[in-house]
């Protein structure tokens, strides 16, 4: 630049010149001044441009090279409802997923020979209703739906026709391979894939908080769930019950392995059955569960230290509290130990146990067992128990044997699990629990005593029919009359069995409940829990124990031998004996 004729003027002089003005300068200098001024201004403009473009360029580099994070955008896809995670059971069996389905439609106005077209389509679509398709295609409608659920191969066959009048539309739909079996836990979605009930609704809330990659793994075991449902639905049929339900939970972490509430509905077509079938009796229904509460009462009495283990209570006379009288329907009419109160299910004995404990200790114990609050779990369908509004002696006496207090079956089974697992209460969970966090509610010693009592109920008491040889079921039956306006209905019972197995070291706790079971000839006219809920529980244990890997144990080898399979033919026996040599 220095090669030009004009001398280079430093930029700073430009300003000095502007401030100094032109007065007193020589005329010959004026031209040169004008040139210099222009040159300076050009330079100034050049610098401005340079700065602006540098900023723009720098920003461009920053955006494209330094901050390049293309995956940030695709993460948003997971929020999209179209990409809901699948729901699986504890062994990764799919319980809910979505598939793309193809629907075939047609513009009937553009098809000249409807019958011929229907015939051609029938050749590639065996499920097509040909007569209906021919009728629709013969019409003049601009769009008719011919068939949904085409396979990818069928879609290709239809495309191969090359007929523009045929329309293929893709849509995403949520499917539930287990249908009815898991309907109450998994729930279902609307057609635009928003959760409407169960874990599907829970999943909507979860997706707003965290992205779930892969699948939502539940604690359910579809094999156990099916076996429980199968036994329960047979039982309901046998005893013409209105409804029923069953729960199987892991007593050592609160995981729910099976939750069945009958009647149920097909999650793939949720509106087909009535509204009643959508009611989850296990988590949303509250019932007076009757005598299974005696277990909790005995636990409270023993654990509070107010009652000695060997103490006996006189049950010969009815217990009078104010104007109320508590009776035993089939009383022993003699002094009973705590174990005998449980085994013979004595209302008088149970009430006496409860009244030995101070009022606040009693309420506090029920509160610790969770009987005063809604349980904290995944399902949106849950509710709080109904506890007495007053807490005087009569309410305490009746609630000691499960009347006047209504809880959900889930409340009962979780508290029941705490009674037999060594005294730790866990929160129920439909997701796999990593490190179980529980709260001690009774001592391990009390828990061991309760196990012995509940085993005696099954070995020699009202729960005899619940026994499953080799698996040593323990438990307690409960038969409660249903409340009705002005009292109780003697003919309508809610029967239940709260149990666990195997007795030596209970791993699984369970509850079976039947709503209004009827007596049959086989039960000699009885409709009590020992005749319907207990045998159902026994059958459930026989079916699910092998699935859960619980090893049978026989104290007496003769017991095992007596259960052996029918005679094996001598030839086969010889062969097997040879093979073992």
């Amino acid at each position: 630049m220095r090669s030009g004729k004009l001398p280079l003027v430093p930029v700073g002089n430009d300003w000095a010149m502007v401030l100094g003005g032109r007065l007193g300068r020589r005329a010959g200098d004026l031209t040169q001044h004008a040139v210099e001024t222009t040159r300076s201004r050009l330079r100034l403009a050049l610098i401005c441009f340079f700065i602006v473009f540098s900023v723009l360029g720098g920003r461009l580099v920053q955006l494209t090279v330094l901050d390049a994070a293309p995956e940030q955008r695709s993460a948003g896809v997971h929020k999209n409802n179209l990409m809901r995670p699948a729901i699986t059971d504890r062994n990764d069996v799919v319980l809910a997923t979505q598939i793309t389905t193809v629907t075939l439609g047609a513009d009937a106005a553009k098809i000249s020979d409807g019958a011929e077209m229907a015939g051609q389509l029938k050749a590639v679509l065996p499920r097509l209703n040909e007569a209906r398709a021919a009728r629709l295609l013969a019409g003049k409608a601009r769009y008719v739906t011919l068939m949904s659920g085409l396979t990818p191969a069928q879609k290709q066959d239809v495309l191969a026709f090359g007929n523009p009048a045929l329309k293929l539309t893709q849509s995403t739909s949520r499917v539930y391979p287990a249908g009815e079996v898991t309907a109450h836990t998994v729930g279902f979605t609307s057609s635009d894939l928003r959760g409407l009930s169960g874990l599907e609704l829970y999943l909507d809330g979860l997706l707003e908080e965290e992205a779930i990659y892969g699948a939502l793994k539940t604690s359910l075991d579809i094999r156990v769930q099916h076996a429980v449902r199968d036994v329960l639905s047979d039982t309901i049929k046998t005893f013409s019950a209105r409804a029923g339900g069953a729960l199987v939970v892991d007593a050592h972490n609160g995981e729910i392995l099976a939750l069945v509430s009958l009647p149920d509905f097909d999650a793939n077509a949720p509106m087909r059955n009535g509204q009643d079938s959508h009611f989850n009796r296990m988590t949303l229904g509250v019932y007076e569960l009757g005598s299974i509460f005696k277990v909790f009462t005995a636990a409270m009495a023993l654990d509070s230290g107010m009652v000695a283990a060997h103490e006996t209570f006189d049950t010969a006379e009815p217990l009078q509290i104010g104007r109320y009288k508590i009776n035993d329907p089939h009383g022993e009419e003699r002094p009973l130990s705590i174990e005998e109160i449980i085994v013979h299910s004595s209302n008088i004995g149970s009430a006496k146990l409860a009244l030995r404990v101070p009022q606040d200790v009693h309420y506090d114990f029920l509160q610790r067992l969770g009987f005063t609050d809604t349980l904290d779990m995944e399902l949106p369908e849950r509710t709080a128990p109904l506890t007495p509004t007053r807490w005087t002696d009569i309410e305490r006496a009746t609630s000691s044997y499960g009347h006047g207090i209504s809880v959900t079956p889930l409340h009962a089974v979780m508290a029941g699990a705490a009674m037999i697992n060594g005294g730790i209460l866990y929160q129920p969970s439909l997701r796999k629990v990593g490190l179980p966090v529980g709260e001690r509610v009774i001592s391990a010693q009390t828990s061991a005593e309760l196990r012995a009592m509940m085993r005696a109920v099954v070995a020699s008491g009202t729960g005899r029919q619940a026994d499953a040889p080799g698996y040593q079921v323990l438990g307690k039956t409960g038969s409660a009359e249903k409340p009705q306006a002005g009292g109780y209905n003697k003919n309508a019972l809610v029967t239940s069995f709260l149990g666990a197995f195997p007795a030596r070291a209970p791993r699984y706790a369970m509850l079976v409940m039947l709503d209004e079971p009827q007596a049959t000839d086989e039960t000699y006219g009885y409709n009590l829990a020992g005749w319907n809920a207990a045998p159902a529980a026994g059958e459930i244990v026989r079916r699910i124990a092998p699935l859960l890997g619980v090893l049978p144990h026989f104290d007496n080898p003769a017991e095992q031998a007596s259960l052996a399979l029918p005679e094996i033919s001598n030839q086969l026996r010889g062969g097997l004996a040879d093979a073992s040599r």
């Binding site: 799919v94 079996v181 099916h226 004996a577």
Partner: protein, 107 residues
Amino acid sequence: MVRMLNIALLFVFVILVAALYHIRYSAEAEAKALRDTQRIMAAEQDRRRTLQAEWASLNDPRRLQILSRQYLSLDYLRASQVLDLRDETTLSIPVLMVPQGDDDAER
């Protein structure tokens, strides 16, 4: 000098235009390849989900129970059919044999 500079800048400009064209073109090609791959992935994932759903419904315990009742003479596993290999007495029992009443009396 200025002319030389201008020619050089023009040359640089032409090269930049050519490079820009090339980058844009290959970026579009890459984007198309990416879209194709994503479409294939989505289709495969869709297929996988469909197969999983099919697998789950084929293995549905309800279905297996009906089929097994129809075609097999199997019954539920009984406790007496389960042997614990850690148990001493198990070792003396012939393979797959469950102790029978008579044999037990002798032992």
